[in-house]
């Protein structure tokens, strides 16, 4: 895929996808794959953990997908983890290496990982919600000494739906990260936790004033996790959630992603919980 534009506005057009190709497609679960994309020529701007891009499949369409890769990777790879739930996401989930895709972005707000040095990080992921948290986790591990405790709680409906299982196994062997993996429906041979992510979260003994919590998953999951953290006296402003809404432009021009006062593509997807909480309480807002 190549890009040609009139010189008048060659670089500035945020509507124009940049050409990338699929370098690798790792199956994570039956419906989810991690795609490693590489630029045909110019890469997009560097992304921050929590940001998303708009991914275009020729002749199918374009969707917003959070970046799931290492924000400091210097090999030019752009990594997304995609669950096939619609026409475009299914095409991406099954994209063969070599497939050309278009990329716009990165867009949106990032996880705030700049709290006071020594902060404890608590990351709670539900299902595909682990993907947008992975860049934050990789960042924290890369700068391990900057943080106090790092806790990762990952939940899935069933063991077969867990993402990044090799990485989770490697993390569980480390003694500088606390990992809890839990599933709703354990299968034969499952020896991990069973139940909702709120259970291991509730069991944590936290030092609330030095805790930063990053939550990503279905909205009810994030609300219950936030409520558990608030019960533990974690300051509301230190809780961040990642929101999902319909997005067509990614740049605050199309209106679709509104949630109350927020344009989720511009003011989100990562939003401090005190901003999100009153909005998530209202049905169909």
């Amino acid at each position: 895929m190549t890009t040609a534009t009139t010189p008048r506005r060659a670089e500035a057009d945020p509507w124009l996808p940049l050409p990338y190709y699929v370098a690798a497609n790792h199956t994570e679960t039956p419906d989810t794959a991690t795609l490693v994309l590489r630029p045909e020529s110019e890469p997009i701007r560097p992304f921050l953990p929590g940001q998303f891009t708009m991914l275009y499949v020729f002749g199918v369409g374009e969707i917003p997908i959070s970046v799931s890769g290492d924000p400091e990777a210097d090999d030019g790879a752009l990594v997304h983890t995609i669950r096939g739930v619609g026409a475009v996401s299914r095409a991406l989930r099954h994209a063969e290496p070599g497939t050309a895709v278009g990329v716009r972005g990165p867009f949106g707000t990032a996880w705030d990982l700049d709290g006071p040095a020594g902060s404890d990080l608590v990351l709670v992921a539900g299902g595909i919600g682990l993907a947008p948290l992975r860049p934050a986790l990789l960042h924290a591990l890369r700068h391990r000494r900057r943080y106090g405790r790092i806790v990762l709680i990952a939940g899935a409906r069933a063991p077969a739906e867990l993402l990044f299982t090799d990485e989770l196994a490697a993390l569980s062997a480390r003694d500088d990260i606390e990992l809890a993996v839990t599933v709703d429906r354990p299968g034969a041979g499952w020896i991990g936790g069973v139940g909702l992510v709120t259970e291991p979260l509730a069991a944590l003994r936290l030092t609330p004033e030095r805790t930063t919590a990053l939550l990503c998953g279905p909205e009810p999951m994030m609300r219950f996790c936030a409520s558990t953290l608030l019960d533990k006296r974690v300051p509301p402003a230190r809780i961040q959630v990642s929101l999902e809404r319909n997005m067509k432009c990614g740049i605050g021009l199309c209106g679709h992603c509104q949630l109350g006062p927020l344009l989720t593509c511009r003011d989100g997807p990562v939003v401090p919980y005190p901003v999100a909480a009153p909005l998530l309480e209202v049905r169909e807002l």
Partner: protein, 372 residues
């Protein structure tokens, strides 16, 4: 201030056309006043007024031959600044995958003739929302604006209560006030002065200027409606769970007319199309509406399925959260959404009902805490 005769207005249109502008202004077509390209000022709706109410719009003959004595029709200048359909790019399949290209024809240089206070404010709102460089900027940059101070508000107008009229605000090149025998002209920009210098005018007499100003001032008191004077963003935030949304939804047809005729509603969607060979794809941007069910679709379903939630989104955005997002109200008081609503829903009345309901809620609250 200058005085321009009716013949002078003809000449103004000619001068603009000679300078390469495509002059767009009001003209009568299909029983309505529409905005279209004018080849001469003779095509303006001389002697036509309008009779407007909720769900109602009719042309009516006037006793005079005034050309700007009609309130807003269904179209707004949004049609030209933010077209209902625009191609963003095309892509062709090739050996490397596909190749994306854009073709960007020089934007048309329009001169807008007859932009009222409400609509000039609406252009300002669109600028705030959409002007981040790019296509909108290119289209907007070359536009020459001949504004018109309004002396003939209609039955659904409420610009005075929105602070957008009847006199025009900043942002025009020339501003006219129509009088029985000509126009008082005010210069708004150097470009405006330069164009006006090519048109025969004479200085306006002080009494002409005074009479024009008085006519505009008087128009403020003849608005058919008014937006309630309350902190609308606050009321709307407090009204998220109000039962009034269900009441509006029982009347609303979800037709999206209000968003189409609104001069500031900017929402769009993208549409990817391919031809039958599958080798050629295009992406188009077209107007969308928060009343459409799939506007809020994310996998698993739409966020806003009920009519109540969609009307709440529209009104709350227009009068409330627009302030958070863009630092201004999204409403300019033109009244189009009232006139072109097939159910005659009037946002000023719905807003007034919400304000009343909040007052009631405040009273209840006081009752709850009152002793005895």
């Amino acid at each position: 201030m200058a005085w321009l005769t009716r013949d002078g207005l003809d000449r103004l249109v000619e001068v603009l056309r000679e300078r390469g502008y495509r002059v767009v202004g009001p003209t009568v077509r299909d029983g309505a006043i529409v905005l279209d390209e004018l080849s001469s000022a003779r095509e303006l709706p001389a002697g036509w007024g309008v009779e407007v109410g909720p769900g109602h719009y009719r042309l009516r003959r006037r006793a005079d031959d005034a050309v700007f004595a009609h309130s807003a029709g269904s179209q707004s200048w949004k049609r030209f600044l933010h077209p209902s359909r625009a191609k963003l790019w095309s892509a062709e399949r090739d050996e490397a995958g596909f190749r994306v290209s854009t073709e960007e024809p020089e934007p048309v240089r329009y001169a807008f003739l007859g932009v009222r206070g409400c609509d000039l404010a609406a252009i300002g709102v669109l600028d705030r929302v959409l002007d981040h460089g790019g296509r909108y900027h290119d289209r907007r940059a070359g536009i020459f604006i001949v504004a018109v101070n309004c002396t003939e508000p209609g039955g659904v107008c409420f610009c005075a209560s929105m602070g957008c009229g009847p006199g025009v605000g900043a942002g025009h090149d020339l501003a006219l006030t129509e009088r029985a025998d000509g126009f008082v002209v005010e210069i708004g920009s150097e470009r405006g002065a330069e164009v006006l210098a090519a048109v025969p005018t004479r200085p306006a007499a002080p009494d002409q200027v005074e009479a024009a100003r008085a006519a505009v001032d008087a128009a403020a008191d003849r608005m058919g409606r008014a937006m309630p004077a309350a902190d609308l963003p606050d009321v709307l935030t407090a009204s998220r769970e109000s039962d009034h949304w269900t009441d509006v939804a029982s009347r609303c047809l979800m037709c999206a007319n209000c968003t189409m005729v609104c001069p500031t509603c900017f929402c769009t969607t993208t549409e990817d199309v391919t031809d039958l060979t599958g080798d050629h794809a295009q992406r188009w941007e077209r107007w969308a509406s928060c009343f459409e069910l799939d506007y809020s679709y994310i996998h698993g379903g739409e966020v806003r399925t009920s009519g109540a939630s969609r009307y709440r989104q529209w009104l709350t955005h227009k009068l409330g959260t627009w302030h958070d997002q863009f630092g201004t109200s999204g409403c300019v008081g033109c009244g189009r959404c009232i006139a072109w609503c097939p159910a005659g829903i009037d946002l000023t009345a719905e807003m007034a009902a919400l304000v009343e309901q909040r007052k009631g809620a405040g009273d209840d609250h006081r009752d709850d805490t009152a002793p005895g």
